[in-house]
């Protein structure tokens, strides 16, 4: 019976000694369960512990505490060459003294596969990453994008239970990166292999992942689907790390299971908002987080919840969107509006000092604990 999870980290701790001699927990009591066939991303800035976690799954590092479990089997000190996982390295780590074919065949040779099988599988693998006909080249004769594909083929040809990817697209230019994102996702769905993807690029994580673990300082800050992470960030840190947000101080007035009222002095009003944490109580100091694109500019002045008037302070036209700073109460709000109408006529655009009506739906105003 296949294990429930492809990979499990149970309360894993990994410490490093800093050059100053202090102990630093690169990974600090991390627990994750990665499901079979899932595209799972670890997202965070450098030093958050994402790469160390990945390296512990690969077997390059061993946890000081806790356990790494792959396909139901605790790994203990199992060396990398006995684990059914393969890695795509950040710098690709291709063998320069071998041809593309030899690079991709390496893993199969180590498994002592037959010559015929190697030729078939390497060929199929190179087809899959669209490198047909380049098998006699040396890695250095290939472009960055092609080398990236060789690295991918070299790992995938072994049909591992889990593919580990350490910022594999980091060195590619933006356009190629976007193409590869979609290709990787398609490949993962086609093969049904569990992907664990490490990245510091939030957009990349949102685009590809089934689930994301947002990490910081060795800890998992939030784990969930891209929608959950973006629409319901559990803390100010996550809301700030992924996308942008307006953070406004307030005080809980009243709270029920679904809805809550927050008094916001800066806006001089009471906001209907959605509590994110379950343990908020009336009278508590909180933060309200509102994504800029969730603030609606409206013409109708009818009675809607969270309705307010503001003055346009600044506008930035960025093509697809217009970014506005709107002064309301004593607060400046970032508001992003999609340019659904043509802005070619100056009258169809906002001008500084213009009065404007704003509405924020209660589900888009998130109440968080003050950290």
């Amino acid at each position: 019976m296949p294990a429930e999870f492809a990979v499990e980290l149970r309360d894993v701790v990994k410490q490093f000694v800093t050059p100053e001699g202090a102990n630093l927990a690169a990974v600090d009591h991390v627990t994750m369960q990665i499901r079979n066939g899932e595209f799972f991303s670890m997202l965070g800035s450098s030093g958050c512990g994402k790469t160390t976690s990945l390296r512990m799954i690969a077997g390059f590092e061993w946890p000081d505490e806790g356990e790494v479990i792959i396909e139901g089997k605790p790994m203990g000190h199992t060396p990398p060459y006995q684990r059914n996982v393969n890695m795509v390295f950040q710098n690709y780590a291709l063998f320069q003294h071998m041809t593309v074919f030899e690079n991709v065949a390496f893993g199969l040779e180590m498994q002592r596969a037959g010559r015929k099988e190697i030729i078939t599988r390497v060929g199929r693998s190179l087809d899959m990453v669209q490198l047909k006909g380049l098998d006699r080249r040396r890695p250095r004769q290939l472009s960055g994008g092609q080398q990236q594909r060789v690295a991918l083929a070299r790992a995938l040809v072994n049909l591992p239970a889990v593919l580990l990817l350490d910022e594999p697209l980091g060195a590619l230019d933006l356009k190629l990166r976007k193409e590869m994102q979609l290709e990787l996702k398609a490949l993962q769905q086609q093969l049904g292999i569990t992907f664990i993807y490490v990245t510091h690029d939030q957009e990349e994580a949102l685009t590809m992942s089934d689930r994301i673990a947002v990490m910081s300082l060795g800890k998992v800050r939030q784990m969930g689907t891209p929608q959950e992470i973006y629409e319901r960030p559990s803390s100010r840190f996550v809301a700030e790390f992924i996308g942008e947000s307006n953070f406004i101080d307030g005080r809980m007035v009243q709270i029920s299971k679904e809805a809550a009222q927050v008094h916001v002095p800066a806006l001089n009003m009471e906001l209907s908002a959605t509590p994110i944490s379950g343990d908020l109580v009336a009278g508590e100091d909180v933060i309200v987080s509102i994504r800029p694109e969730k603030v609606q500019i409206t013409n109708s002045i009818n009675e809607m919840p969270n309705h307010m008037e503001g003055t346009v302070e600044k506008t930035v036209y960025i093509g697809s969107d217009t970014h506005l700073i709107i002064h309301t109460g004593s607060q400046n709000l970032k508001v992003w509006e999609q340019n659904r109408v043509s802005r070619i006529d100056p009258h169809a655009f906002y001008s500084s000092g213009q009065k404007i009506q704003l509405v924020i739906l209660p589900e888009n105003a998130l109440i968080m604990k003050r950290e």
Binding site: N86, F89, N91, F106, M110
Partner: protein
Amino acid sequence: MSMLQKLRENRSSQGTLLALPTTFWMVALLVLPLLLTTVISFGKRSPDGEVIYTFTLNNYIRLAGFDPNCPPADGTCFNPLYLQILGRSLSLAFNTTVLVILMAYPLAYFIARSHPRKRNTYLFLVLIPLWTNFVIRVYAWMMLLRKEGVINNLLGLLAGWIGYDFKPLEMLYTQGAVLVGMVYEFLPFMILPIFTSLEKIDNSLYEAAADLGANPIRTFRRVTLPLSLPGVVAGTILVFIPVMGTFIVSDILGGRQVILVGNLIQRQFLDARDPTFGSAASLILMIMTLVVTYFYTRKFGFGEEIVAA
């Protein structure tokens, strides 16, 4: 001013100017003497040790083991002494190179994989012996190896403790002594190039090999060794060629027992006062070294980086 201006714009004359001092040096001190040596090697020795310029192959015939004055039908004139010397030099150079590789590689590997801060200390330690004069270091081996030397004294002491009747070992003036001396002298010249090529191997390559299922032994065979081969090749060239020609180590540690081509040449010029025969031996030594190096580098290259072919 305008000369400088012209020079600044003319790349090829810049190159000529930069190569000029070395070219002059090489022509004066290598090409001309070499031509002279070639000419002398076809000459004859006068009774008082002067060179008579003529054209005869006698010196080469002597080297091959035949006496030019011997009647052609008589086979007893064949004496393989010089061929033995050439063969001995070749095999000693080969053995030295192999031993040096076997000893230098693990050490170079250890240094390359050690912490960057300790690395410089280790390299420094490797280089320290080179601060002392070559000849003095060979004499030091004499102190160690001779009959009343350090090693024999220590062994005698140990033997005395366990009540074993110990006769001092004859170590000095043997081929073994020369081999030990050669290996010792040339070890740093192998360690450094191997270290350099090992150091360049990114750690992620070892990890990639392990990740793809290679245990440490197979990682070494398939990744580490091929990628460090340029260092081994460069080191081999740096060791093999000088060992072929050296005469100091064999002179001091081999005495009259271990005569190499180097000693032969030296004696022809200084003791036997026969520069014509010495020149012929020099040329043969050079040709032998060139031939071995040629076939070796044709197979392995000159130790350059593995680049896209």
